[in-house]
Subunit: 217 residues, 2 copies
């Protein structure tokens, strides 16, 4: 294992990891506008983040800028995409092909950011055995068998909250290493398991409250 | 306007607003299990948040618990759902009926949390004039006219990053008061406009990095 791989895998602060995709999207736009080099000062002007913060965030990515000239824009885009894991396809299983789960199966855009959902699991007899957007849906009981068949370490959780913990436990027992939790339920997992919570409902709650606050001001 | 409405609209800290839906989902499960009263200590055991933090968070909601007995579970569920804005339907327009936009139009589950997407906008001639999951798709040029027709103040942004700012400006000029931004682009808006960023790609980046880190440990 090379030293550079180890460096890539350093525990990058979460705020940095959340900002890097902003930079990436802005840098892509600058490239479309014809720029060949880009500096942290330029990025800073576009997105209202301090340029020293940007330089610090980019220092985690193995790319060095040239004084006065800045970063080569192609190398920076490639470096960021690699670093963020968007250039590798990470295979995932999705659990719970309901309204949101079905929507995520249909969102092929996730592939461009490195996530390939290769199968869905549900217990609904109207879904099991069918496929959605070319992705097969299996019965939940087949999960262990399918883990042997596919090379998967990510589970997307879109089940009802009443079984969120039970399905999580089953995933972890079956060898899933990271859970992308879309339920508003706070799942418990062993320390070695990665969890990302994406609660659309929590974001809605914040938005509604702020909207209500502004209206009454 | 009543005093209690004003209190509801107090600027609740964002972390509180993000935790309240966790409590709600856990309390609903306790109700399914047959509980009639629930205390912050009980909630705390379920979700690993300090009980004094829970009591403090719940103090923003206009519901009072009884000493030793706790909160009436039905009143607490109703109170939380009201407070979080999940019982009112907030109408929204969606901009950009691509892969993710289309998926969100199909996700009827958002309605249970107070969001009703009433129309989509796009420029793709294969989409304009059709409907998806019963929701009409109009040409982006029709936005201003449709603002007069529908009572909408929320815009869901799922366009390509290259037009994210342009469409945001158009939304704001047309009277949209809150933007739910699903693009990885950091949009700029006037101070009075509410923005919630839900970048699925940023969450993926964090998950991939943590997974990679754990594998190399």
């Amino acid at each position: 294992m090379s030293t550079s791989m180890r460096k890539d895998a350093a525990k990058v602060p979460e705020p940095t990891l959340r900002r890097l995709p902003w930079y990436l999207s802005n840098i892509k736009l600058m490239k479309e506008r014809g720029e060949r080099y880009v500096s942290s000062t330029q990025i800073s002007k576009e997105i209202n983040v301090d340029s020293s913060q940007i330089a610090k965030d980019l220092s985690y990515v193995n790319i060095s800028g040239r004084t006065r000239v800045g970063y080569d824009i192609d190398a920076l885009i490639r470096g960021l995409e690699d670093f963020l894991g968007f250039t590798n396809l990470h295979k995932a299983f999705l659990f719970g092909v309901g309204s949101l789960g079905g929507a995520l199966l249909r969102d092929s855009g996730l592939r461009h950011f490195g996530l390939e959902i290769v199968a869905g699991f549900d217990v609904n007899p109207n879904l099991v055995g069918r496929d959605l957007n070319g992705i097969p849906i299996f019965h939940s009981d087949e999960f262990e068998a399918k883990m042997l068949e596919y090379k998967v370490n990510i589970g997307v959780l879109t089940v009802p909250i009443s079984i969120a913990q039970e399905i999580t436990d089953k995933m972890v027992a079956g060898g899933i290493k990271a859970v992308w939790n879309f339920t508003p339920f706070r799942i418990r997992v062993p320390e070695t398991i990665v969890v990302q919570n994406t609660s659309l409902y929590a974001h809605l709650a914040v938005m509604f409250n702020r909207l209500n606050f502004n209206e009454l001001k």
